[in-house]
Symmetry: C2
């Protein structure tokens, strides 16, 4: 049987009330007594029964999710997953609120973060725009003792407690190797479609991609990055234009969102050419394109996993508990037409 507060009291030779004062950092305990209790806790290996504690406290975890107001399938999916988590909130003792902020807008994000500093929720998850002022705002929250996790895109050099997202450098490198191997030594140009170089995940994907292409596939050259702002219309226009002008393109890497536009451009301009295409994010559109052969591979991050992981980590941090690292590592999913879920 696992030890209880009573066992601590017996082991330390103090009363239950004192144990409670130590456990819950209440005042009125002499230093020596506190140490006696803490030693006893360590020796008998007491671990607070979180379920019982939450029951007694009537605790709920008020969490806030800050999401960018982007009109693309991936962000819609992320939104859906947060909503699904909200639907489970009574069972999970969470109270989740979502806040929408303009995409790629550090100032707006900072404003929201500062307001949350006053409100003091039990935890904050945010899709970070990678800027120094955002990092500073996050660091202030962390210093104030509010658990913060970044979601999907991380924040350079910040003190955030956790990042619930994939390793984007590895994602870019993987995309490069898939494209390179699928092209099997052919010579030509690769078009790269990104959302914005202002978000860290896109920058990192490009970095990893370029590194592997340069080092291991010298017959391939990367064209200047097309920035589609994760917007299908913009992406369509820019990609269609590139395909018309450059006849040397034999491969495409789409590392952002807004793939609807890309796919349309490919179907219009490249029916005759056999392009090899690797794209990010599994959506209804990319799934269809993978199945019909327009796209050859999709790299994906599971938004549901990311949201659930963020919640688990926020809870653990709020309770000062450890997390199972392997469980919280968000994996890069690689989908070919054969292993679609």
């Amino acid at each position: 049987m696992r030890p209880t507060v009573h066992d601590i009291a017996a082991a330390a030779g103090v009363s239950l009330a004192t144990v409670d004062r130590v456990l819950n950092r209440r005042p009125g305990v002499r230093h020596v007594t506190r140490e006696k209790v803490e030693n006893a806790i360590r020796e008998i290996g007491y671990v607070r029964d979180v379920a019982a504690a939450n029951l007694a406290k009537g605790r709920t975890y008020p969490f806030v999710f800050i999401l960018p107001a982007s009109d693309n399938s991936f962000m819609h999916g992320l939104n859906d997953e947060v909503r699904a988590a909200i639907a489970r909130s009574s069972v999970e003792r969470t109270t989740i609120r979502t806040l929408e902020v303009p995409a790629f807008d550090p100032a707006a994000l900072v404003k929201v973060l500062n307001e949350l500093g006053e409100e003091r929720p039990a935890g904050i998850a945010l899709v970070a725009t990678d800027a120094p002022e955002v990092r500073d705002a996050v660091d202030r929250l962390v210093k104030d003792g509010i658990p913060v996790v970044t979601l999907v895109s991380d924040l350079t050099g910040s003190q955030r407690h956790h990042y619930a997202g994939v390793d984007n450098i590895a994602a870019g490198r993987t995309a490069a190797r898939l494209l390179g191997r699928f092209l099997g030594g052919a010579k030509g140009e690769i078009a790269v479609l990104a959302g914005s170089m202002l978000v860290r995940d896109h920058r990192e994907r490009l970095e990893g991609f370029a590194a592997v292409i340069a080092a291991e596939f010298p017959s391939l050259s990367i064209l200047p990055v097309i920035e589609g702002r994760d917007d299908p219309e913009t992406a369509h226009m820019l990609v269609a234009d590139a395909l018309s002008k450059k006849s040397g393109i034999i491969g495409v890497y789409s590392l952002g969102a807004g793939n609807r536009g890309l796919i349309r451009a490919l179907k219009e301009k490249a029916v005759d050419r056999s392009l090899t295409v690797v794209a990010h994010e599994l959506t209804a559109h990319t799934r269809a394109a993978l199945l019909d052969g327009t796209i050859d591979a999709i790299l994906n991050q599971d938004a549901g996993h990311e949201v659930r992981s963020a919640i688990r980590v926020l809870k653990a941090k709020a309770d000062g508990l450890a997390v199972i690292d392997a469980q919280e590592r968000i994996r890069l999913d690689i989908f070919l037409k054969d292993n679609l879920p």
Copy 2:
């Protein structure tokens, strides 16, 4: 606030004791009264607070994991993960026991399963050997109300509550496409190394693999399957032999365990040849081989996820609760040298 038993009592116009009798299927409630209570439960959307219930019951979940006594890295890893789960047992209110049975031995498995029928644990997870007598034994347990999940390898046609493992047909298909695309239209033979055609996961992988090769990569032909019994020594001998005799081999698909032997054979016999190799299960050996270029891609199932998922599902089934399906789908991991964890 979520509704409690008191709210049910008030809504149904009965006493707490009666609500309790209905909720816990205790006798002594007239049919009409029971219906009144059940309607109230439905109307106010009551969900039992499992944490409080377990606290009151002092409940722990006695689970049994049945694992094959195989000496390969994958099964060792699976064992480690079960042990890690055992280490968490006090926190998770589980009491997990593992039983080792000889691999590929339906009779031994049936014997153990029948004994467990007497013992009536709160749940059983097993790596199934796919045989009718095993299926019957499992079905008996299920009929007796004991939650059963298959782990890693499924059981054809059985009533098991859940399968915590990957879709092996999809895995085989994916392997075929990777191999086919990486070979880029070259003509030649593919060697296939399996453990045993007696386990369903291996059969299914082969089936998926063969289907895609036949349909989409006609320039490749599959050699008769080599059965290495998931044993490194056997695998080494058989593969080395095949590589010596067949000069037309340009690719290898290793769909079972025992890859240590395969890798050794490749390093001895194929230094001069540029074979394309796809293998299953990420272990220390396959990881090193992927990094040094001996293997081109590894398909993996995360044993930790499988074990944790099995436990979550068993708990849910024991409590008669629903599971989050998306969370319990075990994904096929594809590793290139760039996205290793």
